[in-house]
Symmetry: C2
Subunit: 356 residues, 2 copies
DNA sequence: CGCCGATACTGTACCGGTACAGAGAGGGCT
DNA sequence: AGCCCTCTCTGTACCGGTACAGTATCGGCG
């Protein structure tokens, strides 16, 4: 049996297809009575409403926005911080009725979601800017908003003050008298492990900025940190390598970590070696996610407002979509930088007087 | 300037629109040389590929599947178990190139994502089957798969053995000699708090099944459990009310919990009252998520394989999409029931001899 | 009475692709 | 030479809607 379309209903009721369309999409265009008849007929025929695809083509709008996640998808869902970010976006978007379509970086096969899925705009969240998915999105000439990425001239962006936050964290440790400081950071691509010369690394935006921030403070103080680097979701590798570093004779008295989760890995290493936090080892995290306050001792960390970031990103995207609709590339686009703030808790303390 | 379409390129190269279409979508239909010329011209004109919306209309397929989440969106992203589930779906779907569109239950305004967003099929995950979003989806006559929901005759479903898992948990406590047992469960809608007659509640599928399972074991033993009920994300309320129950003179010696997270709330209550786990209070969770093993003492819980559930759901959905494409409603549809398993760790022990 | 504007509905021309059935050219085989 | 097949490319008819500019009807008013 053929599909039920506007025409089916139109024939049934004896009106034009256009009138049926209006019954669904522009109720003010026809009399209440006729509209009722049409809706009833539609109901009887099992018509669920105008086909979204056809409507999207005709109207030029799909009702969905993409979120591009290059990072491990699993991580995006599993990580508390990423989860809160996505949830905030969803909440901010809910009133607009926009659905969220998750764009994975590389649709295996020859389907590339970033190129082939219909969307009204997209959020590029913490992606490798050189990845194919990102360039496909750019080529589509869609409203885009970059989040946690190097700002691009012509697209709005939302970032947090990674660098100054990291600097504050490092300065905090210096102020406490630490001079042997290690760093545990993240990096999706190799090299991983204990890195000799971190300055040569090609980093994602956040890793890069935080590294710069740490060094802003450490370099003037003449501190040359040991450097551990692993993908975000491999806490276990962090644990292993930071344990190695903490076993050295000149072991560091403090660790700067890329995230709270990373800090958990370092913490585990300390536990294994019987090092007390913060007496023997100070640890500073980043994000101030749920784990930070739950840790014992509670984690000193750099707070970012992930919910605000999510809401700002969603708002920027809807604004950008509006801007496109209303005439396109006007003047300069907004670049937001959200504040970060050092939260001193219990995992950081004065450098031990007598190095072990 | 007008948009670049297939026609623009066709005119430029001097071929028919159809040939340009083939250059992108069916490379075997034209000579390699011509294809190169077309692709080059497209590149020059800044054409990113066939418009997904138009393609979707013409092909009758969108390249995206929906996931309907009635439950608090925030919870879906924040909860570890839900996160792992979504990630598993994403991983299973990746090779197919299908993107995931998150359908929120109620697009405020008059946009209803479940009705208005173009998708090829959808997963209905732990939703209230009477919600408008679900009935919109059903009316659209799309491939649907129900997950963690009462199976429906004509749609495939994936469930876990909630009932037998819960029964095993309850039996475990009975075997340890517990007779004063309390339950901390979940419920999105009121009533919340300490419930007198749990049998009258209208529950979501999982809550319902687990309650039945617990009672399967408890009733024959003549145990009438105290009953606490709160939304999943309100651990704090769980903590408060279970604390109240644990303060009673005839306080329970064991708690059966809807999830591991719920168990955390109960655990906090126990801590606050100075009750030792498991000496004074046994606690059994559900899910065996990441927290279970991390808890100290490690949590006795009912294990479900969330990754397997996600993969099975995704596979069932792609199969259902295929079935629709190849001729529609054939015979009976599959209903999967994944096993659960009691994992005994350290949070459950013999009932205390001398009740306090 | 005749003109005007509002209200209710309709006709046509798209939106930007794809499917499918040709049509023409060239090559191999008998 | 004649036939058929393959390889390329094209023409037409949709996919299922919406926008916009009509057209008809009718009541109100000068």
């Amino acid at each position: 049996m053929p599909r039920v379309t506007l025409q089916t209903i139109a024939d049934r009721v004896g009106v034009s297809r256009m009138t049926v369309s209006n019954a669904f999409s522009r109720p003010d265009q026809l009399s209440r009575a006729l509209r009722e008849r049409i809706l009833t007929a539609a109901q009887e025929l099992g018509y669920a409403g105008p086909d979204p695809t056809a409507r999207a083509l005709a109207r030029g709008t799909t009702g969905a926005v993409g979120v591009l996640l290059t990072d491990s998808l699993r991580h995006a869902f599993t990580d508390q911080v990423a989860g809160v970010f996505l949830a905030a976006i969803a909440e901010e978007l809910a009133p607009t009725g926009l659905a969220i379509t998750l764009l994975t970086s590389w649709g295996t096969g020859d389907v590339v979601p970033a190129r082939d899925v219909a969307i009204d705009g997209a959020l590029v969240y913490s992606c490798d800017p050189t990845s194919p998915a990102v360039s496909w999105l750019r080529r589509r000439n869609l409203p885009l908003v970059y989040v946690d990425q190097d700002p691009v001239e012509d697209a709005p962006s939302v970032n947090i003050a990674d660098r100054s936050g990291a600097r504050a964290a490092a300065q905090h440790l210096l102020d406490l008298g630490h001079r042997r400081i290690a760093i545990a950071t993240s990096g999706a691509n190799p090299p991983h492990g204990i890195i000799a010369d971190p300055a040569t690394l090609v980093e994602a935006h956040a890793s890069d900025q935080r590294r710069l921030g740490w060094f802003d403070a450490l370099e003037p103080a003449g501190v040359k940190p040991a450097f551990v680097r692993h993908p975000l979701d491999q806490i276990d590798s962090v644990r292993r390598d930071s344990r190695a570093i903490l076993s050295r004779p000149d072991r560091p008295t403090a660790f700067l970590c890329f995230s709270d989760t990373t800090a958990v890995g370092v913490r585990q290493a300390a536990d294994e070696l019987g090092l007390r936090v913060p007496e023997d080892l100070s640890i500073v995290g980043f994000d101030d996610g749920p784990v930070a306050a739950q840790m014992r001792p509670a984690l000193t960390t750099v707070r970012q407002d992930v919910v605000a970031k999510g809401r700002a990103a969603a708002a920027a995207l809807t604004a950008e979509i509006r801007r496109f609709r209303e005439g396109g590339p006007g003047g300069p686009v907004p670049h937001l930088l959200l504040a970060t703030e050092l939260v001193v808790r219990e995992s950081s303390g004065p450098a031990p007087r007598t190095p072990v």
